[in-house]
Structure formats: C-alpha cells, structure tokens
C-alpha cells in the first residue's frame, strides 16, 4: 500500500519537469491584434497590439512595430523590444494592408495555420491603405483600436452586412475549388474606423471590392441568412426619396446550373427572403395587400438589378465569390470537372439572379 501512496507523490514530482514551459500571466505579452503590410522593398511591416493588464498603468495597450522578412521572425524581433514574453495564443484579429492583400495572403495564412497556438477563429480583415498605421492610431473613446475593429466587425457580421471571415473560412474557400474567399475591408475614416465593404479574392489575391451598402445583397446571394437589414431606395416622389427598410431578414439561397454543352453553362441564383418593414416613406398603404405585393415586386426588382450588376463585376474580375463553381462542379462528373478550366469558363457563363420578397409584417403601425 505504501508503494501505491508513493505514486501520486511521484506524479507530482514529475510536474517539476514542466518548469521550462511555465507561463506566468503577468510576464506574458498576449498579442490580440496583429497587422501586416508589404513595404516597397518587399519586406514586411508587422505591428502587434498587446493589451496592458496592469490596472495602475495609464496606457491600455502596448504597440510594437518592426520590419522583417516573415511573420514569425517579427515575433523574435518584438522579444527584443519588450520585457514580456510575446505569445500569440490570444490573437483575435489579423489586419492586412491593401498592398499585401493584392500580392496574395496564402503564405501568411499558411504560417498562421501552422502555429498550434493560433485557432481557426482568428479574424482576417483587409485594411484600405496601411494596416499598421490604422492599428497604431488611437481613436477617441476607444482605448484599443484592435479591439474596436474586432467588435465593430463582430456586430456588423452578425447582421450579415459584411462576411465574418476567420482563418477557417478564408482557408476553407481558398483550398476548395469552385469558390473564392472574401473578407471585410475597413478604412480610417478620420475620427472613426469605417467598414468600407467586402474584399473579394481571386485565389488568395485581393482583386475587387463591393461597397458596404451592397454587402447585404451580396450576402443574400452567397448563403442562407437568418439575420440582416436592408434599406432600399425605391426612387423619388415629389423630389423626396422613397425608402423602405426591411428588418429581421430570413433568406434561402438556391443555385441551379443548366449545362448548355460545349463547356457552357447557364446559372440561376434564387434568393427568397422575407422580412419586416420597419420604415416606409412612400405613399402606398402597406396594410393593403395589393400595395404590399407591388412593393414586394419593386424590392425584388431592385435587389435583382443590384445583384446582376454585382455578378457582372465579379465575372469581369474573374472572382467566384458566390461559389457558383461549387454548384457547377457538383453537376458534373470528376473527369468533366477536372478537364474544365473554371477560371476560363466562369467569366463567360450566363448568370441570372432572381429574388422573391415576402413582407412578413409591417410593424405595429398602419
């Protein structure tokens, strides 16, 4: 029995072997936001933002910037600048400058995914201009710009006006054939950080963007939705814009592919949405079903026109952000798909968007 009692003691003693991997919270610099920019000499400018947890300190964050050749060698250089042990286990946000994003994010995403301390839930965001400059800037009433951007994007992606892109989503769409990744794009708006729109990638290269106000329309045709709001301008009435605002959107998206032969395809994308009208500045009586159906028709025409234009732009830039290729692939056999050069075919295919709108209710006022 004595021998058995000795075993827990032995196990405890074994723990002393972990001394070299000891992590003391106060001695750690837990990076929360990191930004990466490509400089003219092809080197990387890396900025890390580490929240300061010391309650007696006046500053809420510590910023570190360095120029290096790779993401991880930047971390080694940061170690020389701070008394803390820089660790990346708590990274929530990675910001990429436009120049870097245009060159391609593949290698950087690869490095982040390789690190076991970095989870797949880390956000990927493009910054219009220089990401390091934006992260270094202090905005009034926001102590920590990195966290401010994270919360801003969190909130907006909940309403689907911009896609919530994490390492998981980016690398998944990058590695899958028949779909290209997307990411939110933000910019310095003077005294605020502003969401600029949705960045669309060809493979891993940032190629085009759509403005933030069209983000929800893009979302309607990219996937099913269970949340969202859209404001639609139905034209002018006596010099005054007529606006209808749909809230609590529910959307079902469907893609149908028709093979026309000779590697030609016709694709129909259907968005079927319903929502509540919370604002209407026109003169029709929305409590009358006929008027309401007319409004539904007008809204669907508006959304369809916008979506058609968006798809046209995507085809021009040869980015398949809606994942049409996935559905084309799923309609073919393996040989047909592998012999098909989707990048060549995609800009030529005929894509038609269809929208069906149902006004579920119009609030509590007639």
């Amino acid at each position: 029995m004595l021998k058995l009692r000795l075993i827990p003691v032995l196990l405890l003693l074994l723990l002393t072997g972990c001394k070299s991997d000891e992590r003391i919270l106060e001695k750690l610099g837990m990076v929360q936001t990191a930004s990466y920019d490509l400089l003219d000499n092809k080197r990387l400018k890396v900025t890390y933002c580490v929240p300061v947890t010391d309650p007696t300190s006046k500053v809420r964050r510590e910023l570190m910037t360095t120029v290096s050749d790779s993401l991880k060698s930047a971390r080694l250089q940061f170690s020389l600048q701070t008394d803390l042990k820089v660790v990346s286990g708590q990274v929530r946000e990675t910001l990429y400058g436009t120049k870097l994003a245009k060159e391609g994010l593949g290698d950087y995403i690869d490095t982040l995914l390789r690190d076991p301390s970095i989870a797949l839930g880390v956000r990927v965001t493009v910054v219009e201009g220089d990401a390091g400059d934006l992260l270094s800037k202090t905005f009034k009433s926001h102590n920590d710009t990195g966290r401010y951007i994270t919360h801003l994007l969190d909130k907006e992606s909940y309403g689907n006006s911009v896609p919530a892109t994490t390492l998981y989503e980016f690398s998944r769409d990058f590695n899958d054939d028949g779909i290209d990744p997307v990411a939110p794009i933000v910019k310095d708006g003077g005294d605020k950080v502003v969401i600029e729109g949705v960045a669309m990638f060809q493979e891993d290269r940032y190629v085009m963007r759509i403005p933030a106000e069209d983000g929800i329309i893009f979302a309607l045709f990219r996937d099913d939705l269970r949340q969202g709001e859209v404001a639609i301008n139905l034209g002018d009435k006596d010099g005054r814009p007529v606006v209808i605002m749909l809230s609590s959107l529910l959307n079902k998206r469907k893609i149908k592919v028709h093979q026309l032969g000779d590697g030609r395809f016709k694709v129909d994308i259907f968005a079927s949405l319903q929502g509540s009208v919370l604002e209407y500045t026109g003169e029709e009586k929305i409590n009358e079903s006929k008027a309401r159906h007319e409004l539904e028709q007008k809204i669907s025409e508006y959304i369809t026109a916008k979506a058609d234009l968006m798809v046209e732009q995507m085809q021009e830039h040869n980015v398949d952000s809606l994942g049409i290729g996935t559905y084309v692939r799923n309609g073919l056999n393996y040989k047909e798909w592998t012999s098909l050069n989707w990048r060549e075919v995609y800009p030529e295919i005929e894509v038609k968007c269809h929208t069906k709108v149902v006004i579920k209710d119009y609030g509590k006022y007639s």
Partner: protein, 362 residues
C-alpha cells in the same frame, strides 16, 4: 471464482480500445488517400472488421469459450508456441507504447513544447501500470467510467452544423487520392482493438455468450457510427481541399469551439482524449502481459508488469519525432492487422483439426 464481464462491459471495453489517437488524423487520411468523399471507405472497413469479429466468434464457438492459449497449447508444441508468444508480446507491447508516445508528442505540440516528452510518457505509463495491476474486471469498471467521461464530447459535433454544407462534399466518388493500398491499411488501423476481444473469452459469462459476442459487433458498429459522423462533419465543414492540408483536423475542430467565457478550449478537451488513449494502451499491454505470462507463469504480475512497461518505456526513447512515431505505428499496424486476421484463422484451423482428431476437451 473471478467475476465475469457483462456484455455491456465488453462492448464498452472493445469500443474504448478501438478509439484512440487515430481519431485525430482519420478524416485527413480519408481525404488524402481517397480524395473526394473518402469517408465512404469507412463502410467497407466496418464490413471487413465485422467479418474479422465473425472469425473471432467462430473461435469462441468451436473452442467452447476456452482461452486461446489453452487451445493452442493443446495441439502445438511449446518450442513453436513460445517464440510465437514472444512475437505477440513484442508487437502488442510496442504498438501500445507508440500510441502513448504519439499522444504525448501531440499534447506537447499544443502545450508544454519544450518539456521533455518522456516525462509525460512516464506519467501515462504509471497510470497504465496502476490500471493493469488491478486485473481485467476492475479495469473494465474504470473503462466504463472513462466511457461516460468522454462520450459526451460526441455532442460537440453539433457545434459545426451551422457551417456544415452538403455542397462541399462533391458528387465524385473516391477521386483525387493516392497510395490507396497504404491508405486502406492506415484507415483500417483505426478499427484495430476489437481483435483483443479474442483474449476476453475466459472472462466472459458463459450463460450470456451470445450477448457477449453481439456486444463486440455492437461496439464495432458504434465506433463506425462515431467515425462516419465525425468524417461527415469534417468533409462538410472543411471540404476535401482543406482537409488534405490539415494534419490533425480534429484538433482544429476542437480549436474552433469558442465559448463566451473561455477561449482556446482545445487544450482542455484534448485532456479528455487521454482516457481513450490510455484504454487503448492499457488493453494492448494487458494482451502483451497475458501472452508473456504463458511463458513465465510463475513471475508475479506486478513484477512482470514493471519489467514489461520498463522495457517498452526504453523502446519509446528511440523514435524522437512525430514522423518517426508515425512510421513505427504504421509498420506495427501492419503486424497488428495481420495478427487480427491471422490469429483467429490459425485457431479455427487448430480447432477443426482437434475436432477431426476427436480430442476431447470437456
């Protein structure tokens, strides 16, 4: 009279022996070796392992529940049997030991990257020793407890439903893979563990022999169900393209789970997998112990275990990297698969000869 294992305990024991470290890499192996919809390979694996279990039940029936060692010793001379037993012991012992080492190396990659892995290995070996000295009946009680402590994790798969898309599956069947034969053996290794049920015959309740045999099938079917669900989720969540790139997709799945009050849950969850790995290791070592005990029956079990575990611990110093351990596991996997099929077939042959020769074993 020693207590007998109930059919439920047998099922849990077999399932827990089967599931282990391979779960972390299985979806990747399926995508990498078999390409699109590689998860389908799990179905022939289930059928093949069920056939193997059928062979084991035949041994049970023909041998009327006798221990396999008794069956062999009745007809084969000890000069042949002892080297054979030694071979079995070596394969089972080192296989178990490498599984433990792989778990340790993976754990180390996630946490404690600079600590000497052999310290963790020692801690696991001590735990295994403490289980082994208790004997199979009390081990099975502990294993049942471990089963309840880990099975809830299966529910975590629900977490991935919102991001799951059937469109990612592709309609292609098993295209875009490579080295399918090697892949098939590697994937089949995920099922291994059921073959140790052949050693459980003397501990089974003879009056419930049919149920006991059904329990082995049930455990294997349940394991397949778990594997298929996990692989389906991985293919629909990651898509085959990304799955090929992720070395340990299940670790990435665990890392994706975030709760409002706790981030980076995977280190915590990975700890629970220790129970699955520990049971696999312990069962292989138990099998090794049984076969060596036939050669040296007079040595006391704890002494024998110290010797066995000590020598396996020394062997585990040899491979230093994850890749080296993988090579060991793959090669030993071939041997274990060979034993899984070969041993019951050999026993059936011996039993048929015994029957023909009219040797009584009443």
């Amino acid at each position: 009279m020693p207590e007998k294992l109930s059919p439920f305990h047998i099922a849990v024991l077999v399932y827990m022996t089967q599931s282990g470290i391979v779960i972390f890499t299985l979806p990747r192996s399926l995508a990498d070796y078999f390409g699109t919809n590689g998860w389908l390979v799990l179905i022939p694996c289930l059928l093949l392992s069920s056939f193997n279990i059928y062979l084991i039940t035949l041994v049970f029936r023909l041998g009327k529940g006798r221990s396999i060692f008794e069956i062999m010793e009745q007809s084969v001379s000890k000069a042949i049997l002892y080297p054979f037993y030694l071979g079995l012991t070596a394969v089972w012992l080192v296989f178990g030991c490498m599984i433990g080492k792989k778990y340790v190396l993976l754990f180390q990659m996630l946490a404690f990257p600079t600590t000497n892995p052999m310290l963790f290995k020692l801690a696991i070996d001590v735990l295994a020793f403490m289980m082994l000295i208790k004997g199979i009946y009390r081990m099975s009680n502990a294993v049942t407890l471990f089963f309840w402590m880990t099975i809830w994790m299966f529910g975590l798969l629900l977490w991935f439903f919102p991001s799951f898309r059937w469109a990612r599956f592709t309609p292609f069947l098993l295209h875009g893979g490579h080295d399918q034969v090697k892949g098939a053996v590697e994937v089949y290794a995920a099922y291994l563990g059921y073959e140790l049920s052949i050693l459980l015959f003397p501990y089974m309740n003879k009056s419930k022999s049919k149920k006991s045999m059904a329990a082995i099938y049930a455990a294997n079917a349940f394991l397949s169900f778990v594997y298929i669900c996990l692989s389906l989720i991985c293919f629909g969540f990651f898509g085959p393209g990304q799955l090929k790139k992720l070395l340990y997709p299940v670790l990435d799945l665990l890392a994706y789970i975030q709760l409002p009050f706790i981030e980076r849950l995977e280190n915590l969850l990975y700890g629970f997998f220790l129970f699955l790995v520990l049971v696999t290791v312990v069962m292989y070592w138990w099998a090794a112990q049984l076969s060596i005990q036939r050669i040296i029956p007079k040595v006391k079990t704890p002494v024998l275990l110290v010797f066995l575990l000590g020598s396996s611990y020394c062997v585990s110093f040899i491979p230093k990297t994850l890749d080296e351990v993988n090579v060991w596991i793959t090669n030993l996997g071939y041997a274990v698969t060979g034993i899984a099929f070969g041993l019951p077939m050999l026993l059936i042959m011996i039993l048929l000869i015994q029957r023909k020769g009219g040797i009584s074993h009443a």
